[in-house]
């Protein structure tokens, strides 16, 4: 955080000669900024775990031997990969509530359905990451575990899963960064997360007399920095996990 703030001030004050900490601006913007950050964190906190759970379950189910489960899931994955998330957010947010009985319709129902759909969208991608992880564990590993009298469940838990998850961590870091940044899509249907609330704030600032254009740059730089810090923390966390479970002798070949 401290590093981010320093970069922010140096960038705007020293290079662009902006008054990044202009009290007139921050007096108005700070509450919007903070509640925007909190809302973004809240959506991320819902979407990320949900998408991991669904993505993992779907990825696992798709390697199962039962064709009757695997093909509907492949339709699900193809659908969510093929439709732009912003279109899904609009559909879910606008039409979603009318599909539910009237008594469930609260004011933020549309946004929550849209957040749920964003989770399903990322889950489709994550399921492919997990599936690739599972498929890259050689069949001989399962055979060896079974020949030690392990049940399928134990073989999965102690032999296949640890190896599959290890291979999934680096691509997951990628996907998690996308999930965090994609919460900004909720702004299109009126979600007051960091991007949406800052967007409305800047429009109001521009319209009101006596305010300065350079505030736009200050606001958007601050917004960009927050997204950067959030994605960077999550990817660094995953990198730490990756290093923690590094297996000796399995280093990538350097050419």
């Amino acid at each position: 955080m401290a590093v981010g703030a320093t970069v922010f001030i140096v960038l705007l004050e020293l290079i662009l000669k902006f008054n990044a900490l202009d009290p007139v601006l921050w007096k108005q913007y700070l509450p919007v900024f903070l509640s925007g950050i909190l809302t973004t964190l809240r959506f991320t906190g819902i979407i990320l775990p949900l998408s991991i759970a669904v993505g993992f379950a779907v990825g696992w189910a798709r390697i199962s031997r039962f064709r009757s489960i695997t093909w509907p899931l492949s339709v699900y994955v193809d659908f969510f990969r093929g439709v732009p998330p912003i279109v899904m957010v609009i559909f879910a947010g606008v039409l979603g509530p009318s599909l539910l009985p009237a008594r469930f319709r609260t004011s933020d129902l549309g946004i929550n359905i849209a957040a749920f759909v964003l989770a399903l969208h990322s889950a489709a991608y994550q399921s492919e990451i997990f599936r690739a992880g599972f498929m890259s564990v050689p069949r001989g590993q399962l055979e060896a575990a079974q020949s030690l009298a392990m049940t399928r469940g134990k073989a999965m838990r102690f032999v296949v899963l640890p190896q599959a998850l290890r291979l999934s961590v680096p691509p997951l870091a990628n996907e998690f960064a996308v999930v965090i940044k994609d919460t900004s899509l909720l702004a299109i249907i009126g979600g007051f997360e960091l991007f949406g609330s800052s967007n409305i704030f800047t429009q109001q600032v521009l319209l009101s007399a006596g305010n300065q254009l350079e505030w736009l740059f200050v606001v958007w730089t601050a917004v960009a920095l927050v997204y950067f810090i959030m994605t960077f923390s999550v990817t660094e966390l995953l990198n730490a996990i990756d290093r923690r479970y590094h297996v000796k002798g399995l280093e990538a070949v350097s050419v």
Binding site: Q141, S147, L148, A149, M150
Partner: protein, 241 residues
């Protein structure tokens, strides 16, 4: 101890085993030879039920085991297996590979399991490699760890599926020596191998398989020096040359 009666196996249109029967007594070493694709590996996998035979019966100490009411795990606890490609668990070090079965399947406490594991690694000549990961070991070392891993379950019999075929020539000896020592100690073994020296000195009986059938059975001398069947003669001629 192990008896197989008339087992058949199809993989789709492929008829891999066409009625195979064999019997191995306690403490006996049986070697199976034959060209690739003859069904040797499938036969081994039918014995510990990694593959379920389409028909026929598999017995372990008189109990038919390819039945719905027998858990395959019950068979595999008693019959260890060693693979051509070692299949060591890549995310675990040598000692963890050896102790995983006892700890997670037999419920042995980690302390005694580790002590027993170190002893087994010493027995295969790898006491100092206990904390090496598979990728840090040579093929011969990996295969010896794999043998120790199977032995850690205290099996009554061991199946070896071409244990030296994936090894560089300089590592074959050390693996065969461990296997010969095991046979010496009275382990019941079924070994699929093309190592004629090993077969001659360790096995009492040799089976020659081709195209899903047992073509000929006999002592090493009978099979290698005086084969009766043309197909055996042709095959033995090729591998002895």
């Amino acid at each position: 101890m192990i008896r197989v009666e008339d087992i058949e196996k199809h993989f789709g249109a492929l008829h891999v085993l066409k009625g195979v029967s064999l019997e191995v007594q306690k403490g006996e070493v049986l070697v199976i030879i034959g060209p690739s694709g003859s069904g040797k590996s499938t036969l081994l996998r039918c014995i510990n039920l990694l593959i379920e035979p389409d028909s026929g019966r598999v017995f372990l100490n008189g109990t038919q085991v390819n039945r719905r009411d027998v858990r395959p795990e019950w068979v595999r606890e008693q019959v260890g297996m060693v693979f051509q490609s070692f299949n060591l668990f890549t995310h675990l070090n040598a000692l963890e590979n050896v102790t995983l079965g006892p700890i997670r399947v037999l419920g042995t406490d980690p302390k005694p399991a580790e002590a027993a594991g170190r002893e087994l690694l010493a027995r295969v000549g790898l006491a100092d490699k206990w904390n090496a990961y598979p990728a840090q070991l040579s093929g011969g070392q990996q295969q010896r760890v794999a043998i120790a891993r199977a032995l850690a379950m205290n099996p009554k019999a061991m199946l070896f599926d071409e244990p030296t075929s994936a090894l560089d020539p300089e590592y074959i000896r050390e693996v065969l020596d461990v296997m010969a020592a095991l046979a010496e100690e009275g382990m019941t073994m079924i070994v699929v191998t093309h190592e004629m020296g090993f077969a001659s000195s360790v096995a009492k009986r040799i089976l020659f398989m081709d195209a899903g059938r047992i073509i000929e059975e006999g002592s090493p001398e009978e099979i290698f020096q005086h084969p009766k069947q043309d197909r055996t003669r042709a095959f033995v001629g090729k591998i002895l040359r």
